[in-house]
Amino acid sequence: MTRNFLSLGRIARLSVLGLGALIFLAPYIFMISTAGKAQSDIFNASLSLVPQQWFYVQNFTKALSRVSMGTLLFNGVVVCLLILVIQVVIAIPCAYAMAKLRFRAARAMMVLVMLGLLVPIHATALPLYVAFDRVGGLNSYFALVAPFTISVFGIFLFLQFFRSMPDDLIHAARLDGMSEVGIIARVIVPNAWPAITAFSIFSVVAHWNDLYWPLIVVSNQAYATPPLGLLYFRAAEAGDDYGALTAATLIITFPLVAAFLLAQKRFVEGITMTGLKG
């Protein structure tokens, strides 16, 4: 080990990885740096990372005053949580039925799920928009959440996971006197946390970042989600006030990035699991 601790190959490898990491992290470095720069600073010395005047307070104040960041983050949390909870509550019983119960429609439902996996929100947005418009449901949490209450991907993921659970466990539960709902609540869910965590991460990342659907159904700032809010902020700050812009960016990016950094092992596991099985 000591002999080739720093062999030539290893130095090359680490340099490539290090340089790559630097490039990938550069936007974050510049984001943090620029968020603290005054306008003049930004225009003059774009390559120096340390602000000449510390303008963090001014930039953050500006960002917070132009758009109600609190509302944006609150909307983001509410929408993502509502979507996640409903998705899980709907998908788990269905996946359990398909994986462990015998009924004739299971095969047809599998086809339904596979078809559903193919259809992104972009394909269904037009008629859904027309429908929400007709019932006067635009600009509401309902409009933001409803189309995502069903996640065929969730059903698919849980289905795969439940199939790998031993049948005998469910048989034992039945002999012990549990109803099917009891089995889901007492046996399936407590043993499905890895899948539920993975799906939660997948779902929250997807819906926290989604711009397309909120852009379509929300025109009222009160219901704007973080990406949409940032879009408004950009429109309001038409100029090149990158100090305030990056400050706003920092605020909005922070929650998910922080969550990722805190639980990165789970994140990566979750993405791997959802990714490989999806």
Binding site: L17, C94, T124, Y129, I150, T272
Partner: protein
């Protein structure tokens, strides 16, 4: 069709006897009914509606509409914006997909081979996946800024005059591709890393014993074939995600300059939700869906034919 299923459900309910099998089937129906109903309501019905609307001249704000047959599709054929948009999407996909896959694969193999800093590198490359793309696009806009942006400042240091990255029709698509690659490498990398760790160590030992002396030989003999299923999956996902590019375009360029960054979803969005020509946008959506179907179909075919390692 939704009615049919519901009716079927009630018949079974009424006819349910006390045998355990009937009970089981009835419970299964009850448990999956909400999901089935929502699939019909939010997926199948809208898809059917999109296909139907594609044959109409429906516009939001006007009351009536009439069937126009294939007129919308005929119009698409001569729509220069749409053709430009398809072409741009194809170019974007053709750049982002291979680069992000090979970059991710190379980085994954380097990280896998490297003992130290594994989790740091993984985190660094994965960070863009967990970041809000709309927000990070703003940062990229600053980085790409022709006069005050750090990238051009860096180029100036070595005496090069940087282009107007997002502002010139010649470079805008490439600039967006760079952001696309930056955003998707981490996801692919994590999948490749998982695929690599799943390869049994014994296979490398066996390859070495069998005479695969160089690292390259072992990659060809073991790594590449064993990663087959992962690679196929990563490729499909990458292509689909590239075809769905929207956020960066909407945030940074609005399709410009001069339609040089018009992409499929942005064009659909504009036609449908800005100009409110729902019928015409529906026809575009059908084309978009058809592309996805073809991609999925190709994946299944290749999966059936070639990837038999798992």
């Amino acid at each position: 069709m939704a009615d049919l299923v519901a009716a079927h459900g009630t018949i079974r309910h009424a006819a349910a006897t006390t045998t355990p099998e009937h009970h089981e089937a009835r419970t299964a129906w009850l448990l999956s009914l909400p999901a089935i109903a929502l699939v019909f309501l939010f997926i199948l019905l809208p898809v059917a509606a999109v296909i139907g609307l594609g044959f109409t001249d429906f516009e939001l704000g006007y009351s009536g509409f009439r069937f126009v047959g294939f007129d919308n599709y005929a119009e698409l054929l001569s729509d220069r914006t749409f053709k430009q948009s398809l072409w741009n999407t194809a170019v974007y996909t053709a750049i982002v997909t291979p680069v992000s896959i090979f970059m991710a694969l190379g980085l994954a193999m380097l990280i896998e081979a490297e003992g130290i800093g594994r989790s740091f590198f993984r985190t660094a490359y994965f960070l863009p996946v967990a970041s809000l793309l709309v927000a990070m696009a703003t940062v990229w806009q600053y980085l790409f800024h022709p006069t005050i942006g750090p990238i051009n400042a860096l180029l100036a240091l070595v005496g090069l005059e940087g282009p107007n990255w997002l502002g010139a029709s010649g470079t805008v698509l490439y600039s967006l591709s760079i952001i696309g690659i930056w955003q998707s490498v981490g996801f692919n990398l994590v999948l490749f890393l998982a695929g690599l760790t799943a390869i049994p160590r014994e296979l490398y030992a066996a390859a070495e014993v069998d005479g695969a002396k160089s690292a390259w030989d072992r990659v060809r003999l073991v790594t590449w074939p064993m990663l087959g299923p992962t690679t196929l999956f990563v490729t499909t996902i990458s292509i689909i995600n590239s075809v769905k590019v929207f956020e960066t375009v909407k945030t940074l360029t609005e399709g410009g300059p001069n339609k040089a960054s018009e992409v499929l979803l942005f064009t659909i969005y504009k036609e449908g939700f800005v100009y409110l020509r729902v019928g015409y946008a529906s026809a575009m959506t059908v084309v978009f869906l058809a592309i996805l179907v073809v991609l999925m179909f190709l994946q299944y075919r290749i999966q059936d034919r070639q990837v038999h390692y798992s």
